[in-house]
Symmetry: C2
Subunit: 332 residues, 2 copies
């Protein structure tokens, strides 16, 4: 079968191709209501699909936004993506996703792809410093909003973020007030500004309470598997521990698994704290105490912000920062 | 800032636009090595991005495949998507995702979008019967591979599936041999062929063992929340029960939560079985016994099949069916 063209519609309608073109592009003031309706009905019936780029070259709008995200299997990102999709749908926009695996090469490839497909704008959850990706977006005049992942120049760009350092301060304060002093911390990948902010929060508040010890810091990659590895490391290298603060929930879930398998009770022997508040953290047994980010709201606001920028609406704040809060459940 | 054009490169290189065009489209046999390198270097330095559609209209290939999926926040789909992405990346293809929320209107909108963006092919996880979507793909001559979700005409289309009925037979056989007779079943949404297949398997094997009772059948929507609702319903309407077989893992996890909250021990009081084997089912406490689909392999094979079809390679089997198997863990 062949793609339906304007000529096909013209033949079926018994009019010229020029007439079909005028109707479909709404330059139809000189055309009778009857012909207009006939053409529109046929276009629908025959599943006519306009060549979007040819159309975009004239209207300069595609009605589509792109989302670049590091890992679609991490519930934090799939929930943000879902929120963006819901909001975009309300505002009449389509959404396409690309998964970068936090690899800079893939990320740049997908930024190029989105630009070449002429999306109206990009929601960009960076996988690293991502300088080239940002330069490409700017050089091609494509509006974009950064979400979650800070980059060096984030104060110059539109963005929606959680206050990560403050979130960790809240978490440590909560644990300390509950009598925990030997608090291990599983930080995220070194190349992310967001990991550094959370680590900053840990170092700052542990020092404030006079209980800082460099040996209590471990590293993971924000996946369940990463939490499993880091926790095995913790159990191997530390004798006594009151609590473990994982800098995201996925790592905390993997970590709890290792603790239970090694005969530790959570929270009786070791308290556990996560960061994010993904959906499963409330279903998991024991239910995970965590520093919650307003994930859905962050996704929604980033989509609104992007569409405001695309439409040239006045934007009050180039960056939106969200507060976190400790949700106390069973692991602490 | 403005999008970099061939003219910009031509000016910088001190050559004509025609020369730049010939170099960038590899029609460069008449051009000196020096000029060629100068143009290519500049194109890279200046982040030149070809207008993909203009390019596709001549080459007829975009190097991009689209994935249509029902719910990006369901780990079953995000894992399949991830597998497709990994395989596509190996084979030199880009992937863009669209989330339909199982709404037929959204699905058709996204099929149109993918077709108009001229993807080379589509991996299509249908949200329902999806007749129109399939017709659009065919009318526009876009190769597609169905995955996971059967449709009425699936025997005519390329597709990759699990053997759902057989999977449920395996599950019931396992539970029955363990001495469970009052086995409740939480089926999926009515409009999905896959739900009917799993229900068929339940009815068939419960009848075979002479323990079928229509009152033991409940319905959920394949989400954690759906499992929570169905399980509350079960506890309200049935006095005595040996086991609950949820027709996907997400519902099983929500269900276990409700059972534990109501003072039931799993597996001591009630055995629980899921279907899928998503990553978290092994991490959850208690670990979920489930009928495993080879999720990653299904994603990989669907991507391979699609790219074979796109390239016009010979394909031995239009449909690939995967066996399931029972993975025994702690809930049974």
């Amino acid at each position: 079968m062949k793609k339906v063209t304007m000529l096909d519609i013209a033949k079926m309608a018994g009019v010229s191709k020029a007439t079909v073109s005028m109707v479909l592009s709404k330059r139809d003031h000189s055309i009778s209501e009857e012909t207009k309706n006939k053409v529109l009905d046929l276009a629908k019936e025959m599943n006519y699909i306009p060549n979007s780029l040819a159309r975009s070259l004239s209207t300069k709008r595609t009605g589509t936004i792109g989302i670049i995200l590091p890992d679609i299997t991490n519930p934090f990102f799939s929930s943000i993506a879902r929120a963006i999709e819901d909001e975009a749908s309300l505002l009449g926009y389509n959404v396409i996703f690309c998964n970068t695996d936090s690899e800079i090469n893939k990320e740049e490839k997908y930024i190029k792809l989105l630009i070449s497909k002429l999306v109206d704008g990009v929601i960009f959850i960076a996988g690293g410093e991502s300088e080239n990706s940002v330069i490409m977006l700017k050089n091609n005049n494509v509006p974009f909003v950064l979400v979650d992942r800070y980059i060096d120049t984030h104060e110059e760009e539109y963005g929606v973020y959680a206050l990560n350092k403050e979130g960790v301060l809240q978490g440590i304060e909560y644990l300390y007030n509950k009598g925990n002093e030997r608090i291990a911390f599983v930080k995220g990948p070194k190349n992310l500004e967001l990991s550094r902010q959370r680590l900053d929060g840990y170092e700052y508040s542990m020092n404030k309470y006079g209980i800082y010890n460099k040996k209590l810091i471990f590293e993971g990659d924000f996946t369940i598997e990463g939490g499993i590895k880091a926790t095995k490391e913790i159990l191997k290298s530390i004798d006594e521990i009151d609590a473990i603060f994982y800098s995201n929930d996925a790592m905390a879930l993997g970590g709890i698994k290792v603790l239970l398998k090694n005969g530790f009770k959570v929270p009786e022997d070791i308290r556990v704290l996560g960061f994010d508040n993904i959906e499963i953290s409330e279903i998991f047994e024991p239910e995970l105490t965590t520093v919650a980010q307003p994930i859905y709201e962050m996704g929604k606001q980033s989509c609104k912000l992007l569409i405001d920028v695309i439409k040239g609406n006045k934007v009050e704040n180039k960056q939106i920062y969200f507060q976190t809060k400790v949700i106390v459940r069973e692991t602490s």
